[in-house]
C-alpha cells in the first residue's frame, strides 16, 4: 500500500473549508481516527472550474473510524438513484477490510460534510472514489501502527481482517478497530494524490451488490425532503408569472386571503400563500388575480433552429487538424447534413422540494438537490446570511439527471422562512417543475464530410450551434478535421428564451445523434455495411473492443443499408467511458410509429466498482433515451412553456421497454470511469439509423415522432 505524507495534529481551530471550525466538526462526530482528504481529479473537471470557491485549499472529505469501530465517510456528494451510496461503501469496506454493514455514508450535509461542487458529470466514482480509498488506506496504516504498539509486534507482521488487526504469525492475537480507536482523537491529512491500485485484491469492489437503500425504499420509510415535518410547519405556494420574462403589473390577493387559514406573504414582486393544509395552499394560490406586462423574445419551437444558425454568434474552433480544403479535394463524395435537437425537461418524479427553518440567526434547509453547497452559497448570496449560519441537508433525492443542480426552490423556502419565522415546506407543483426547469439546451449541428473511393473519411467539418460541445469529438480517423462551436454572443440578442443546464450526459446525445447519423449516411453512400465502415475508419482500441463485444452480443450479421431489417448502430464516449450500441426496430410505415425491439450495448468504463449498479445505470440510460428519441420536446412561444404536464410531455413507459442486453467489458486493471450517463448517448442515433435501414428514410430531427417519420418516409 502506498504511503502518503501525513501529519498527526493536535487540537486546531483552522477552517475545514465550508466555514465550520474543525473543532466544532469534531464535537459533532466524536473521536476516533479521522482522515481528511480531497478528490484530486475534481480539480480538473468542469464542475470545479465553474465554482467560485477553490477546492485546492480544502480537504474535501473526511473519513472517520469511530470509537465503536464504525467506518463513516462524510461527503458532500448526494444519492439520487445513481447508487453511489452503495458503490462508495464498497470501496471503503474493501480498503479497510470491514464488513460492508459497518460502513456508513453521510452525504450532502453542509455542516457535517466538507465542500463539494456538486453531484453531476458521472464524477463521483471516478474522481472521488480513488481519493476516498486512499484515505481509507491511510486510516488503515494508523490502525496498524496502533496495533503494532498494542500487540508488541512489527507492522510488517500485521494484517487487517474483518475489522480486526491480526498478527499473521499468531492469528489468535488480534485487536479490533473499536478497541484501537477507543478514547483516541487522531487526525490525518492526505496531501498526495494516490497512486493507482491493484484492484484484483478486493472483496467487494467488482462484485455485484444490490442497492443498500432498497429496503427503505420499498417500505415507504426512505425520507425524501417532502416527507419531513416540523412543528408549526406551513406549506407554501408562490405566485408565478405566465411566461419567462413577464413582469407583474397589478395584483389582488383578497380572494386568496379568504381561503381558511391562509396567510399571504408579499416582498416586492415575490408573493406567496402559506397554509398548514397543502390543499388549501393550492386553492389559495389560484385565487390571486395578477396582471403582467410582456416583453418576450420572438422565439418559438418552430423558428428556433433558424434563429440559431442565423444569429450573430461567438465562434470558437475547438479542434483543427490537417486542412479541410485539402480534405474536400481528396474526397470522392461529399455529404452535408443539418441536425436539430430540441429543449428537454428533466422531469424527475419528485419535484424540486425544500423545507426551511429559521432558528435564532441560523437557517437550516433540507432540499432535494444535487448541489447542497451551491444552495448554501445561493442563500448566502441572495438572503445575506453568513455562510456558517446556513446549513443545507440533503435527504434522499427522487431523481436529478442534472435538473437538481439548480436549487431555486431552496432559496425560495429560506426566503419565506426568513420573512415569516415559520418552518416552510415548499413542494413545487408539476407545472412549476416544467416551467422553472433548467432545460437541456436545444441546438443545431451542421456537418460537411467526405470519403475517398476506398471508403476512408478524408474530411470532417463539424459545427455545433448553442447546444454544447460534450461529445463533439470526431472519434474516427480523419486527416482533415475542424470542430467549431457557435455560442451566445453577449452583445447580441439572447438565443435561449429561458434557463438551460446539464441534462444527463449534457448534449452528448445531440452530438452523438449528429455524428453517428452522418457516419451512417457515408456508409450507405459508400455502399458498405455500417459496422464495417466504422471499423475501417476507427483506430481507437477501446471503441473497437466495444464494437466487437456488442456485435457478438447482438448476433450482428453484416449488410448494406437500407436493408429492410431495421437494424442500426452508434458509438461514442462520455465521462471517460466508451460505449457502442446496436438496436433493432420495427417501423409501421402507415402510422410512422417506431418500436424498439431490442438493444445491445457494450461499455468500457474501466474498473467497474459495482457491476450490478453499473448494469442498472446502463438499462436506465437506454430506457430514458427512448424519451428524447421519440417524444420529448419542449414546446414554447416566447417565454411561455406550453407543455407542463406528463400528458403533454411524454416520458418512456413500460410498453416501450425493449429487450436489453448489456455488456460491461472486464477492465480490472484500469481506473474506474463514469457510468451514470454514457449509455444514453448512443440510443437516439442508433434508432435513427435503424429507421433508415428499415425504410430508407433519414431523420434529422429529434424527437422522431410518428409525424416526422411519416414525412421522412414520403421523401424516399
Amino acid at each position: 500500500m502506498k504511503k502518503n505524507d501525513s501529519k498527526v495534529s493536535s487540537e486546531t481551530t483552522s477552517e475545514t473549508g465550508n466555514g465550520m471550525k474543525r473543532r466544532s466538526f469534531l464535537k459533532i462526530v466524536g473521536g476516533g481516527i479521522i482522515v481528511f482528504f480531497q478528490p484530486w481529479g475534481a480539480l480538473e473537471n468542469i464542475g470545479a472550474q465553474t465554482q467560485r470557491r477553490t477546492l485546492t485549499q480544502d480537504y474535501n472529505a473526511f473519513l472517520q473510524i469511530a470509537e465503536d469501530g464504525t467506518v463513516s465517510c462524510f461527503t458532500g456528494k448526494i444519492e439520487m438513484g445513481q447508487g453511489v451510496i452503495t458503490s462508495l461503501a464498497q470501496m471503503m469496506a474493501d480498503e479497510l477490510n470491514v464488513p460492508i454493514g459497518k460502513v456508513k455514508m453521510i452525504m450532502g450535509d453542509t455542516d457535517l460534510c466538507p465542500y463539494d461542487a456538486g453531484t453531476w458529470g458521472s464524477q463521483t466514482t471516478q474522481t472521488f472514489g480513488p481519493a476516498m480509498r486512499a484515505a481509507a488506506a491511510e486510516a488503515r496504516g494508523v490502525l496498524v501502527d496502533l496495533a503494532a504498539a498494542r500487540l508488541g509486534v512489527p507492522v510488517s507482521q500485521l494484517e487487517v481482517r474483518d475489522g480486526f488487526v491480526v498478527d499473521s504469525k499468531n492469528p489468535n492475537r488480534s485487536v479490533s478497530y473499536a478497541s484501537l480507536t477507543k478514547g483516541k482523537k487522531l487526525e490525518k491529512y492526505l496531501d498526495v494524490k494516490p497512486a493507482p491500485e491493484d484492484y484484483t485484491q478486493f472483496t467487494y469492489v467488482g462484485k455485484p451488490l444490490n442497492h443498500s437503500d432498497a429496503l427503505l425504499k420499498v417500505t415507504g420509510k426512505a425520507k425524501y425532503t417532502g416527507d419531513l415535518k416540523l412543528p408549526g410547519m406551513v406549506f407554501a405556494r408562490i405566485l408565478r408569472p405566465p411566461s419567462h420574462g413577464a413582469k407583474l403589473s397589478a395584483v389582488d390577493v383578497s380572494d386568496a386571503e379568504k381561503v381558511e387559514g391562509t396567510h399571504v406573504v408579499r416582498d416586492g414582486d415575490f408573493i406567496a400563500v402559506l397554509n398548514e393544509n397543502k390543499d388549501r395552499a393550492d386553492e389559495a394560490i389560484v385565487k390571486i388575480k395578477a396582471e403582467y406586462t410582456f416583453n418576450e423574445l420572438k422565439a418559438d419551437d418552430r423558428n428556433l433552429y433558424d434563429r440559431m444558425v442565423g444569429a450573430d454568434s461567438r465562434a470558437q474552433v475547438l479542434n483543427a487538424e490537417g486542412d479541410t480544403e485539402l480534405g474536400y479535394r481528396q474526397s470522392d463524395k461529399i455529404f452535408e447534413s443539418e441536425f436539430h435537437d430540441p429543449y428537454l425537461a428533466h422531469a424527475s418524479i419528485e419535484t424540486h422540494t425544500a423545507l426551511a427553518k429559521q432558528e435564532g440567526d441560523k437557517m437550516t434547509v433540507w432540499a432535494s438537490t444535487q448541489s447542497p453547497f451551491g444552495l448554501q452559497d445561493g442563500i448566502v448570496r441572495e438572503l445575506g446570511y453568513p455562510r456558517e449560519k446556513v446549513r443545507v441537508i440533503t435527504p434522499f433525492v427522487g431523481g436529478g439527471f442534472g435538473g437538481k443542480a439548480a436549487f431555486q426552490q431552496g432559496v425560495e423556502a429560506a426566503r419565506l422562512a426568513k420573512l415569516t419565522g415559520k418552518p416552510i415546506m415548499l413542494v413545487w407543483s408539476r407545472d412549476e417543475e416544467f416551467f422553472y426547469d433548467t432545460f437541456h439546451p436545444a441546438g443545431v449541428v451542421r456537418i460537411r464530410s467526405g470519403i475517398d473511393k476506398n471508403g476512408f473519411i478524408k474530411l470532417w467539418d463539424y459545427s455545433v450551434y448553442y447546444g454544447g460541445t460534450r461529445g463533439s469529438d470526431t472519434i474516427y480517423n480523419v486527416p482533415n478535421t475542424k470542430t467549431t462551436s457557435y455560442s451566445q454572443n453577449m452583445d447580441s440578442v439572447m438565443i435561449h428564451p429561458f434557463a438551460t443546464g446539464p441534462w444527463r450526459a449534457p448534449n452528448n446525445n445531440a452530438n452523438t445523434f449528429a455524428r453517428e447519423s452522418q457516419i451512417d449516411i457515408m456508409a450507405a453512400g459508400a455502399g458498405t455495411d455500417p459496422l464495417e465502415f466504422r471499423l475501417k475508419n476507427l483506430s481507437d482500441e477501446k471503441m473497437i473492443s466495444c464494437w466487437n463485444a456488442v456485435a457478438e452480443k447482438f448476433g450482428y450479421v453484416p449488410s448494406k443499408t437500407p436493408g429492410g431489417r431495421g437494424i442500426g448502430m452508434a458509438c461514442g464516449t462520455d465521462a471517460g467511458t466508451w460505449v457502442a450500441t446496436i438496436v433493432e426496430v420495427k417501423v409501421d410505415k402507415t402510422t410512422g410509429k417506431v418500436r424498439v425491439l431490442r438493444v445491445a450495448c457494450a461499455q468500457d468504463m474501466g474498473l467497474c466498482v459495482n457491476p450490478q449498479g453499473a448494469l442498472i445505470q446502463m438499462e436506465g440510460c437506454i430506457q430514458m433515451a427512448l424519451g428524447y428519441t421519440f417524444t420529448e420536446e419542449i414546446r414554447f412561444e416566447g417565454g411561455n412553456i406550453k407543455n407542463r404536464g406528463f400528458d403533454t410531455y411524454e416520458i418512456p413507459r413500460f410498453s416501450w421497454t425493449p429487450k436489453m442486453e448489456c455488456v460491461i467489458l472486464d477492465r480490472l486493471n484500469m481506473p474506474p470511469k463514469g457510468g451514470g450517463e454514457p449509455a444514453i448517448i448512443t440510443v437516439g442515433a442508433a434508432v435513427a439509423n435503424a429507421i433508415f435501414d428499415a425504410t430508407g428514410a433519414r431523420l434529422y430531427r429529434m424527437p422522431m415522432t410518428p409525424a416526422r417519420v411519416l414525412e421522412a418516409i414520403k421523401k424516399v
Partner: protein, 158 residues
C-alpha cells in the same frame, strides 16, 4: 366545515376529523404521517400517489378524502404484515427494481392490486397494468421482472 371520516387504514379502524375537500394524498402525508405515498404531479398522470381503496389501485392526489368514508385503505406502509415483507417488496429488492425509489411505492401498490385480482399475471398483463405509472430513472425492465416473480410466488400460496 370539518367532517368526521371513518375508514380502515392499513388494517386499523381509523377516525379523522378533517376538511372533507382535502385530497386523500395530503391527509395521508400530512395528517396521518404516512409519507410513503408520494406527490408526483397532482393530476393523476404519474401514479406515485397510488394506494389501495377496497383493493383497487387508486390515485390519491385527486381524491377528496370524503370519498373514503367506510372504505378500506392500504398504503405502502400497510403492505408488509407481521414484520414480513410482502412478496412484491421482496421481489423489488431482489431484482434491484428501483433507483431513486420515488415512484416505487406507487409501482408496488399498483402491482399489488393487479395480483390481488389475478394471481397469474402474464408479462404482457404486467406491462399493460403498469403503463400509467411513470418512472424516470428507467427501472422498467427490472420492475416487470420483479412483479412477475412476486406474481409467481403468490400464485403458489399466501
Amino acid at each position: 366545515m370539518e367532517q368526521k371520516i371513518r375508514f380502515k387504514l392499513n388494517g386499523k379502524n381509523t377516525e379523522i376529523i378533517t376538511d372533507p375537500n382535502q385530497t386523500l394524498l395530503w391527509v395521508l402525508r400530512n395528517q396521518l404521517g404516512l409519507t410513503g405515498t408520494k406527490y408526483g404531479c397532482g393530476t393523476g398522470f404519474c401514479g406515485a400517489c397510488t394506494v389501495l381503496i377496497n383493493r383497487e389501485a387508486t390515485r390519491s392526489c385527486m381524491l377528496p378524502v370524503s370519498d373514503i368514508q367506510g372504505t378500506e385503505v392500504i398504503t405502502i406502509e400497510g403492505l408488509s404484515r407481521g414484520g414480513k415483507l410482502h412478496p412484491l417488496q421482496q421481489a423489488f429488492i431482489d431484482h434491484d427494481a428501483l433507483q431513486c425509489g420515488y415512484c416505487t411505492p406507487g409501482m408496488i401498490m399498483t402491482a399489488a392490486a393487479m395480483i390481488m385480482k389475478n394471481p397469474s399475471l402474464t408479462r404482457q398483463q404486467i406491462i399493460e397494468g403498469l403503463e400509467e405509472n411513470l418512472c424516470r430513472c428507467g427501472a422498467h425492465t427490472r420492475i416487470i421482472d420483479a412483479v412477475e416473480t412476486a406474481s409467481k410466488e403468490m400464485k403458489g400460496g399466501r
